[in-house]
Each structure stands twice: as C-alpha cells, then as structure tokens.
Amino acid sequence: MFTTHSRPDGTVALVGRLDAAEVPSARAALGALSGTLTLDCSQLDYVSSAGIGLIVETYRRLHQGGHTLKLVNLLPRVRNVFAFAGLDRVLTLE
C-alpha cells in the first residue's frame, strides 16, 4: 500500500511501500505534482528499483521545467537502496 499526503508546509509525504505493484497509482499521484518539490520519506517503508525509477522519472520531469526535487528523512534501509543505485550522490537526500 502506498499513498501520498500533501502538507500545509508544501512538502509531500510518501507513505508505505513504493514497489512494482504500487508504481502505477504512485505515478498518477506524483505526476500531478509540479514546481520545486520536497518529498518527506519518514514514512516510506520500502523502495525497490521500480520505485527508484519513478523517483528518477519525477526528477527529470521537474528538472525540465527548471525545478528541483529533494528527498528528506529517509529511513536507513531506504537510503541504502538509493545508495545501491548510486543516487545518493546525484539526488538531494537529507
């Protein structure tokens, strides 16, 4: 189960598992977001290559519009998956 929640401070929380089964609905949710974006990952339990692909896709879309994407509060196991992908060096992770 994966959901997103927009917060009053403008950040968007990712909640649950971002896996291959959830990517279609997650793509619809993230595709509706625009502008410079901060994703709060404190409740993101799990990410796989399918989820990483969607984050990269979102980064590219925002970048084309001159915006940036930042991910904050990643759990260590989720940060490890980004590190395996070599994305900890090229995405802004806080």
Partner: protein, 135 residues
C-alpha cells in the same frame, strides 16, 4: 521448507511479502530482516513477470534458512532460457539525466546476494539466491 505458488502478476507482491514474514516468524527471526529479502524477491519475481512467457502457470517461491544464510528459490516451469545472472551491470556513476533505468533491480540482487545462480532445463528455470541475514 516453506514453498508457495504465486500468480505471475505484480499484484502477487503483497502475498509474497506475507509469505516471507510468516517464514521468518516460524524461524524466530526478527521481522526487520524481511525488508532485504522482500527487495530481492520483488526484483526477481517482477523480472519473471515482465520478461518471462505470458503463461497462466504460477511461479513457485521457496525459502530455506540455515543460520546465518537464507536461500531463495524461484521456479518457473513455463520459461524460455534467460539468464539474469549475466545481465549487464548498469553504470550507477552516470549523471541522473543520462541514466537508463534497465538492470537496476538485478544490480540490487547482486549487491545483496552471496550467491546468485540460474538453471534452465526442459522449460523449467530456477533462480537461486543465497543471502546473509544481518538481522
């Protein structure tokens, strides 16, 4: 050895996660160890779903625990030869705008596995991954 059949669709993933957690509980292993196992299983299973035959046959997953190693086997008995252990390693040093998403899942499996093997005979493929459970 816990063994279960799953339909070859990504919608089976929640049932696979439940299967992993059930097995770890039976072996008295902490649930925290499940995340890494689920990641490896998801990557291997979705590879079968995406690139395997569009068959109605289920995919069989079995788990074996021998401290400190967990062995995962995925059996597809309606398959063509495709050896994922030979898939090229993606370049994870490229700038993000030059990345190609392909191959990342198998790269994760290689990073986490102590052993990653493939066998294919009479349309039956078996993927075997052995990984050390840190938790």
């Amino acid at each position: 050895m816990p063994t279960r059949d799953f339909p070859r669709e990504t919608g089976a993933l929640p049932s696979i996660y439940a299967f992993v957690r059930e097995a770890l509980r039976e072996w008295g292993r902490p649930e925290e160890g499940a995340w890494d196992v689920e990641l490896v299983l998801e990557e291997l299973f979705t590879n079968v779903v995406k690139y395997g035959r569009k068959s109605t046959r289920p995919v069989t997953v079995s788990l074996e625990w021998q401290h400190p190693l967990l062995t995962i086997r995925i059996r597809d008995d309606d398959s063509d030869f495709f050896d994922p252990t030979l898939a090229p390693t993606p370049d994870t040093t490229l700038p993000i705008l030059e990345r190609n998403a392909g191959g990342l899942g198998l790269h994760f499996v290689r990073r986490m596995a102590e052993r990653f093997e493939y066998a294919h005979e009479n349309s039956i493929s078996t993927l075997t991954v052995t990984m050390r459970l840190e938790h």
